[in-house]
Subunit: 596 residues, 2 copies
C-alpha cells in the first residue's frame, strides 16, 4: 500500500519560494503572523492527516454510511477526526478574530485543505462547515453569529449547503423551496433538497443547513431567492422537522453521505432564520463562490496527488521486463517500471497536473488574500479581478485533468490498479465528482468566457497578461529557460487571438454560438495558465540552482517537469485553437434538428 | 433507467451498407451463408442480450462473486445466460464445420459480441471459452479436439487463458510455471497464475485452462514456453488439484471472477495435456492474439455504447435551464439538456467514439475473415497485413477513447451520474480495465510502431494508404464531403511525415528513443484511422441520400457526426504531431536521473 499522499517539500516550495506567502504579513490584517505561525498550522494539519485520516482511507470507503430508521451513521473515525480538527482551530483559522478565527491567510488554509483532502477525501466535512459558518460571519446578524459560528468552527456542528432541488440541478433560478414569514420574525421552511453532502450524520451534535428558498411573493428567478439558516435541532434542542428521505449510493467519496432531505415534511414545523436581507440569497452565495470553487479545485488536486504518489511509489518498486534497448537480455533482472519511458511519461504527466494545479490554486488563493486584505486599494482591486478570472480555471483544471491523471495512475499499476488491493481504483472513483461539484465544467467555462474574460472592460485579461509577462521576462534571463519563455509568449498570443475571435462572435449578439465551445476555450486557457505556473516554478528553481542550493535534485526535477508540460501538454492548445477559430457550427440546435 | 444499449439500425448499416459483409459469401468457405443466416445469428444474439443479459446488468454488478471454502459462486443469471447462449450455437458460430462450428464470418460474430457485451459486460464469459476452444481446434490433437471442443462451444464448460503470473505481468518471457513430462505423455503442472478471468465458478460443469508453462529444461525467455490444456476436472471426473487461492475485488466487471489459481498446490497432482508442439506455446497464443485483441476492443466499444445510449436517453428527457440565448426567459419552460451545445457536443463525441470505433472493429474483422478464407491468395495476404496493422489500433482506440467517452456520459447526467440510481457510474468503472486487458495501451503502441508499421518492408502501410485513398476518392465526388476528403488527405500526409521521422530514429538503432512516445503515435494513428472510418460512413450515407433513401434522418446524422469528428477530434493530431516531431528527450532514463 502507498505510504505518501503529498510532498511537504513541494508545499513549502510553492508557499514560500514561488508564491512568497510571507509577504502577506506586510498587510495589517495578517500582521500577527509569520513563517512560524504558518508552519505551525501546516504541521498541525499534517499530524491530523497522517494519524487520523490517511490510515482510514480504505475503511471509510468500504463502510459507506447507510440510512436506517431515519438516522445516518458514518464511520467512527470521522467523529475522531472532526473532534481533533475542531480542537486544532483549523476549521476557522482564516476567519477574522471577531468571529473566532486566527486571521491566517486563505493561502495557508488552502494548503491545509490540500494536505487533509489528499490524506482522505472521504472525510470531506469541514470545508462545508467552514463555508456555512463564513456565510453567517459575513452576512448574519449578531445573534446568528453568536448562536452558530463557535459551535461550527470548533467542529461540534456540521454545516451544509442546501441549494440543489430535484427539478433544478444547475439551474438555481428554478428552485421552489419556500419560506413563509411568521410573526416572531422567523420563517416556516418547506421544500426538498437533493445531493446535500454531509446533510445528516451522527459525527456532530447538530447540522446547520444554509438553505436557499423563496419568501412567499418573491420575484421569479434568481432575484427572488433568500438565504436561511435552518438547523437540524433548534437551540433549545427541539427537533426542527427535517427528514432524511434518502441517501445516495455513489461511485466515490463514499465517506460523506449525500442526502435527500425534506424540510417540514412531517409536521410542517421547520423553522429557518433569514440570513441578511430578503431576496439577496444568491448574491450572498455568489460572494462565497470563489472560496467554494477553489475548495473543489483543491479536492481535485488532492485526490490526484494521493494517486500520483501511490503510482510513483509502485513504479519505483515493481520490476517488470527489461529496458526497450535490452528487451531480450533475459539474463538481466527485470527493471523497475519507472525506467520504461511510457511509465515515466505517465508519472511526469501526473506530477505536472498535481504540482501545476496546486501552484495555480495557491496563486489564486494568494490573490484572494490580497483582494480581501491588502492595505493598498489598487492592489486589492486588481487582485479581486484576478481571483474572478482565475477561479473557474483553478476549479476546473485540477478536476478535469485530475480525472485523466488518475486514470494514468491506474494504468501504471496495470491489472493491479483495477483491484481493491491498491488505492488507485478508489481515487479514480472519488475524483469523478469534482468536475460536477460546485458548478460543472460546462458552467465554469461559460463563466470564464461569458463573464470573466470581458470583466471590467478587459482589464482582467490585461492584468493576467502583465503577471504572465513578468514570469516570461524573469525566465528569459536564464538561457536554460529562454526557449520556454518564448513558447509561452507564442501561446499567450494564440490565446489572445482566439479570445478576440470569440468576442467578435459575442459582438454579433449570437450568445449561443459565442459560448458553444466554452469548454474547449477553458481547456485552452487552462493549459496556458498552468504553463505559466510551471515556468514560474522553473524560474525559481533555476535561481536556486544558480546560487548552489543544497536541494538540487528537487529543483532539477521541477525544471524537468516544466519541460514535460511544455513539450507534451502545451501543444494540445494547437488543436483546441484550430477548433475554436473554426466557423462550422455543429452543436447548436437548429430548426432542422439532427436526429440522434 | 436506460432502455437501449445498442442500435440495430447502426449495426446493419455498418455490416451491410458500409463494410458489405455479404460479399464474403463469394468465398467458398462462407458459401453456405447469406444475409438471412447472418440476420438469424444477429437476431438470436439480440434476443439473448435483451432478455437474459441487460435486465441483470446492475444486479450482477451489485452481487459480485465471492470465494468461500475454495468455491466461487457467481450470479445465477450467468448460468441461465450461458445455457441459452450455448444452445444458440453462438459461441462456436465462426468455427469451421469440422470443429462443430457454422463457418459464420468473424465479422458477424464480432457484431454479436458487441451486442452481447453492450447488454451486460459483466457476463464476459464466452469470449474466453471461444478463445480456448479455438486454440484447441487450431493446434490440438484429434483427441484433445474430441475431448474438449464440443462441451466448450455448447457452453457447458468454461475456457480460460492462464498467462499472467505474479512476477510477470506484461512480461511473458519471465513466466516460471513448470510442466514435467510423465511417462504416459501427459505433464505434471506446477505454478500460480493471477488475474484469471472466469478462472473458477459454478455456472459451468468444468473449467478448461489454456495454460502457459515451461517444460523442464526449456530455453529461457519466450522461446521456451509451451501451451497446455489443464482442466479443473479430468475427463473421468477426478479433481485435477487446481486451487482457488484468491479472488480479486475489482473496480468493475464485477460479474466475472478474476482468480488467483494454484496448480498442483495441494497434492502435486495437477495434470496437463500439451497442445501442439513443445516450446511453441507463445507462438500459438500470438496466432490467436488478433482475435483476442479485437475482442477486447469490442468490449471497450460495447461498454461505451451502453453508456452513450443511457446518456442520450437522459439528455432528451431531462429538463434543465433555458437555451443560452434565452437564459433569463423564466416564463419559458426549462429545455431538455440535449439542447445545450455543451451537452450536444459531449453526446456527439460519444456517438463518434461508439460508431467510429465499432466501424473500425468490423472493418478489421472483415479483413480477418478475408485473411483466413479469401479464395484469392493475394487478397488473403494483403488482408492479413491489414489485420496485423489495424488490430492494435482497433484494440486501443475504443478502450482509451471509451474511458473518455464514458466520463462524458457521467458528465451529461450531472450529479445523478455519480449515483447508483443511473447506470453510467458502473460503465465508468467497467471500462477502465479495457486499456489494460490483453496487452496494455503501451504494449499495443510499441507493437504498432515497433513492429506493424515496418512489417513486410512497408507494404502494410502502403496497403492502408490505398484503402484510405479509395475512401478519399469516393468522398471527393460529393461536394458536401470534398472538404473532409481534403482534411483526411492532409492528415494522412502528416501521419506519413511523423512515421518517417520516427523510422529515422529507429535507423540510428536507438530503440528506446524510437519507441518512447509510441503511445502518442498510437493516438495520432487512431485519430486518422477513425476519421477514415467516419468518411467512409459519410460517403455511404451521402450516396443513400442522393438516391432518396427513406431513412434520411439516420444518414444525415451520420454525416453530421463525421463532421463532428473532423472538426473536434481530428485537430488533436496537431499537438500530437508537434510532440512526435520534437527532439527533446524527457522520459528516457539517463545516468543523471531526474529524481521524482
Amino acid at each position: 500500500m502507498a505510504t505518501k499522499f503529498f510532498s511537504k517539500r513541494n508545499v513549502n516550495f510553492l508557499l514560500y519560494e514561488v508564491h512568497e506567502v510571507e509577504t502577506l504579513v506586510q498587510h495589517s490584517y495578517f500582521a500577527d503572523h509569520n513563517r512560524e505561525t504558518f508552519d505551525m498550522t501546516i504541521d498541525a494539519a499534517t499530524q491530523i492527516a497522517e494519524n487520523l485520516m490517511f490510515p482510514f482511507v480504505k475503511d471509510v470507503d468500504k463502510n459507506q454510511p447507510e440510512l436506517h430508521d431515519g438516522k445516518v451513521k458514518v464511520h467512527p473515525s470521522i467523529k475522531n477526526y472532526l473532534k481533533a480538527v475542531g480542537e486544532s482551530g483549523i476549521i476557522g483559522a482564516d476567519f477574522d478574530y471577531e468571529n473566532g478565527g486566527a486571521q491566517i491567510p486563505f493561502t495557508i488554509t488552502s494548503a491545509v485543505g490540500y494536505i487533509l483532502m489528499s490524506a482522505n477525501n472521504g472525510m470531506m466535512y469541514i470545508g462545508l462547515t467552514a463555508g456555512g459558518a463564513r456565510l453567517i460571519a459575513n452576512f448574519g446578524s449578531d445573534e446568528l453569529k453568536k448562536n452558530y459560528i463557535e459551535n461550527m468552527i470548533s467542529g461540534k456542528w456540521q454545516g451544509t449547503m442546501c441549494l440543489t432541488e430535484p427539478q433544478a440541478g444547475s439551474s438555481l433560478s428554478d428552485i421552489t423551496s419556500s419560506a413563509e414569514p411568521l410573526e416572531d420574525g422567523t420563517y416556516k421552511i418547506r421544500g426538498q433538497k437533493v445531493f446535500i453532502s454531509a446533510g445528516d450524520h451522527d459525527a456532530t451534535d447538530n447540522i446547520i443547513h444554509l438553505f436557499l428558498a423563496r419568501i412567499k411573493g418573491a420575484p421569479k428567478g434568481t432575484k427572488g431567492i433568500s438565504l436561511f439558516v435552518v438547523p437540524k435541532y433548534r437551540l433549545d434542542g427541539t427537533d426542527n422537522d427535517i427528514t432524511s428521505m434518502g441517501i445516495y449510493h455513489k461511485l466515490g467519496q463514499k465517506g460523506v453521505p449525500a442526502m435527500h432531505l425534506g424540510f417540514g415534511d412531517r409536521n410542517d414545523d421547520c423553522i429557518g432564520y433569514l440570513l441578511g436581507e430578503p431576496h439577496k440569497g444568491l448574491n450572498y452565495m455568489f460572494q462565497m463562490m470563489n472560496e467554494a470553487r477553489i475548495g473543489v479545485g483543491l479536492t481535485g488536486v488532492s485526490i490526484t496527488s494521493a494517486a500520483y504518489y501511490a503510482a510513483l511509489e509502485y513504479a519505483k518498486e515493481r520490476p517488470q521486463s527489461r529496458r526497450l534497448n535490452a528487451k531480450t537480455a533475459l539474463d538481466m533482472p527485470q527493471v523497475p517500471i519507472i525506467q520504461h519511458p511510457d511509465v515515466k511519461r505517465m508519472l511526469l504527466f501526473q506530477k505536472s497536473v498535481v504540482e501545476g494545479g496546486l501552484s495555480l490554486l495557491l496563486e489564486t488563493a494568494k490573490y484572494f488574500d490580497l483582494s480581501e486584505a491588502s492595505d493598498d486599494p489598487e492592489e486589492k482591486e486588481n487582485a479581486h479581478l484576478l481571483v474572478e478570472l482565475l477561479t473557474p480555471i483553478a476549479k476546473t483544471f485540477p478536476c478535469e485533468y485530475g480525472v485523466k491523471s488518475i486514470s494514468d495512475a491506474v494504468q501504471c499499476f496495470g491489472g493491479y490498479g483495477f483491484t481493491e488491493d491498491f488505492p488507485v481504483e478508489q481515487y479514480y472513483r472519488d475524483v469523478r465528482i469534482t468536475p460536477i461539484y460546485e458548478g460543472t465544467t460546462g458552467i465554469q467555462s461559460q463563466d470564464l468566457l461569458g463573464r470573466k474574460v470581458m470583466m471590467a472592460g478587459g482589464k482582467t485579461m490585461k492584468l493576467l497578461a502583465q503577471e504572465v509577462g513578468k514570469t516570461i521576462k524573469a525566465a528569459s534571463e536564464h538561457s536554460e529557460l529562454k526557449k520556454y519563455a518564448t513558447l509561452l509568449t507564442e501561446s499567450s498570443k494564440q490565446l489572445q487571438e482566439v479570445t478576440m475571435h470569440l468576442l467578435g462572435i459575442a459582438g454579433t449578439g449570437d450568445i449561443e454560438r459565442f459560448l458553444a465551445d466554452a469548454t474547449l476555450y477553458m481547456e485552452l486557457f487552462s493549459l496556458n495558465v498552468v504553463a505559466w505556473q510551471w515556468l514560474k516554478q522553473a524560474d525559481v528553481a533555476q535561481q536556486k540552482l544558480l546560487i548552489g542550493a543544497d536541494d538540487s535534485d528537487f529543483y532539477e526535477s521541477k525544471i524537468h517537469t516544466m519541460k514535460y508540460f511544455f513539450h507534451y501538454e502545451l501543444p494540445k492548445t494547437q488543436g483546441l485553437a484550430t477548433r475554436l477559430m473554426d466557423t462550422e457550427v455543429l452543436t447548436i440546435m437548429t430548426d432542422k434538428e439532427v436526429v440522434m
